[in-house]
């Protein structure tokens, strides 16, 4: 080997080490072609000009003899001019005898490419990183398949869960209806007995009958709540929107809770309200929401306390109806889940509150059906403010009372 040379390879060894190499003369004419690239591109035969077989993608412009000196330090990307479509990348190296060696390997951007070209591991030199690239591409594809499969399973599971939930809600709705019918009879006859319309009851039975009545009403409230919840969850709760003045509705609700406020000697103040403000909403649902907010405020007010009710439009034109008590307040961490069904704040338990644990949840769902929401702010020892927010579309303006 002449001094200064470090590489002199037998043709078979060169073929194994560089299975995609091409030896060229100074005019870029093919002199020798390695076995694998010869198999892929039969047009690449000795005597053929390189640029008749390949179109250069990089560097841009024709492959010329003049440019060869610069090509030694340039990444070459070549595309075959004839089928099969093959893109190779690599470089040109000058050899000691004045010839040039094109050293390339196929570009792999897609795992399918190897299959299309019928290339196997045996076609690559062991030092060639193409195989690792293929492993990465295959792992990516496998991960994608996995993700798609998991997403499909999740969708199926969610659909099944939703279907089961709807079936449960439908069953609940049916059962609640069936339960309410006999219960109404029980309550009705209990009230009749309690009024002693058909003659006096023995004294000890008067208390019993009253207990039956109270329990019956509690059960009816529970069933009504369940029925509402079931309807909402089964998407069968249909809003019946009408136009009404919100102040009138609040007035009705305040009158309805007067016995409870009087019992605890509470003061209820209507702080701000435009008496002619009209909304378009389901009146019964609005009433249900307001009664729930008021009864909660009453429950958690201290005796002789105060409840503030305010109606106003906020900066975003939302209608905000707030009910604030000045009771014990709720721990802020409780607010995160207090709207969930069958949950009640710990403080409620501590003050011996009763309830189904559904009221706030239903109120929020009803607000949601109107495009609104219910928010809660509280401070331990200072009280709780619960606000119903209705979107501007629900506020139809100011109408005079008929």
């Amino acid at each position: 080997m002449p001094a200064g040379e470090i590489l002199s390879l037998d043709a078979a060894v060169a073929d194994r080490l560089f299975p995609f190499h091409v030896v060229l003369d100074r005019d870029l004419r093919v002199l020798r072609v390695a076995s694998v690239i010869k198999r892929l591109l039969p047009a690449l035969v000795p005597g053929q000009m390189l640029d008749r077989v390949f179109e250069p993608l990089r560097p841009v412009g024709p492959l010329t003899v003049e440019s060869v000196s610069q090509l030694a330090n340039t990444l070459l990307i070549l595309r075959s001019r004839q089928p099969p479509p093959l893109v190779v990348k690599g470089q040109i190296a000058p050899l000691a005898d004045g010839k040039l060696m094109l050293l390339v390997s196929p570009r792999v951007s897609d795992a399918d490419e190897m299959r299309r070209l019928n290339l196997t591991a045996a076609d690559f030199a062991l030092h060639d990183p193409t195989s690792e690239m293929l492993v990465v591409l295959q792992a990516m594809r496998a991960s994608l398949m996995d993700a798609e499969l998991l997403a499909k399973r999740l969708r199926q599971t969610r659909d099944e869960a939703l279907q089961a939930s709807r079936a449960k809600s439908q069953f609940l709705a049916n059962m609640s209806h069936e339960l309410r019918t006999p219960l109404n009879a029980i309550i009705g006859f209990t009230e009749m007995m309690s009024s002693q319309i058909h003659g006096p009851l023995p004294e000890r039975y008067v208390d019993y009958v009253n207990d039956v009545g109270v329990s019956g009403h509690h059960l009816l409230d529970l069933i009504n709540d369940l029925l509402d919840l079931a309807r909402i969850e089964a998407d069968s709760f249909e809003l019946k929107p009408s136009r009404f003045q919100i102040s009138e509705l609040i007035g009705e609700c305040l009158r309805a809770v007067t016995p409870q406020t009087q019992k605890k000697e509470l003061t209820v103040e209507l702080l701000e309200s435009d008496p002619a403000l009209t909304v378009e909403a389901d009146e019964r649902a609005m009433k249900q929401i307001m009664l729930n907010l008021l009864s909660n405020a009453i429950k958690f007010s201290r005796p002789s306390g105060r409840i503030d009710v305010a109606v106003k439009r906020d900066d975003s034109s939302y209608l905000r109806i707030s009910v604030a008590d000045h009771g014990e307040g709720i721990d802020p961490s409780t607010i995160a889940w207090i709207f969930e069904p069958f949950r009640q704040g710990d403080h409620q338990v501590s003050v011996g509150s009763e309830g189904t644990g559904l009221g706030l949840h239903i109120a929020k769902r009803l607000a949601g059906l109107h495009g609104g929401t219910i928010s809660m702010k509280s401070q331990i020892g200072a009280g709780t403010t619960v606000a119903l927010l209705l979107p501007p579309v629900r506020v139809v303006g100011v109408e005079k009372s008929p």
Binding site: A111, A121, Q138
Partner: protein
Amino acid sequence: MQGVIYKSIEDLVVAGWGAETWAEILKKAGVDDPAFVGMSRYPDELAGRIVGAASTVLKLPPEDIMRAFGRHWTTNTAPTYYGDLMAFAGNSFLEVVKNLDQMHARISLIFPNYKPPSFRVEELGPGKLRLHYSSQRAGLGPVVEGMMVGLGDRFGLDVQIKPERGRTDGLDHDEFTVTYAQRAS
């Protein structure tokens, strides 16, 4: 072990015995989350528990289950998830077997935590070879047996594989004699 191994066992059991049987096996193996993610890693001992549970539920020796898994892996799971890599490994049974070690080694270059087995092939003559199998995990010889049979299926060959010597004989690896011939149509 990679999650795809467990998914393959799941596919095998569900295809052969149904989803309820697979659920029963997982329950018996104490697996809480039944959804395996292909590229995630799971403890090796889990495979032992699942094979043990499958053996009890299916009333089959663990070796038979491992052989069935090995064959299922090569004929179903690998072509589905790693079809291009399988094709890249070679166009004939012998070529693929001879490239097994290189392919596993390259996978370990990309995934350094992967502990791949190693294979060495001694050609004993036409249609016959000796396979040297080394693994950090003991007792998986039957899986290799199933994989060779499955590879034969891929190329339409009948493959017979016989364990010759192994760790129980004091070697640091297992040796199998493999014979393969075109399958009579």
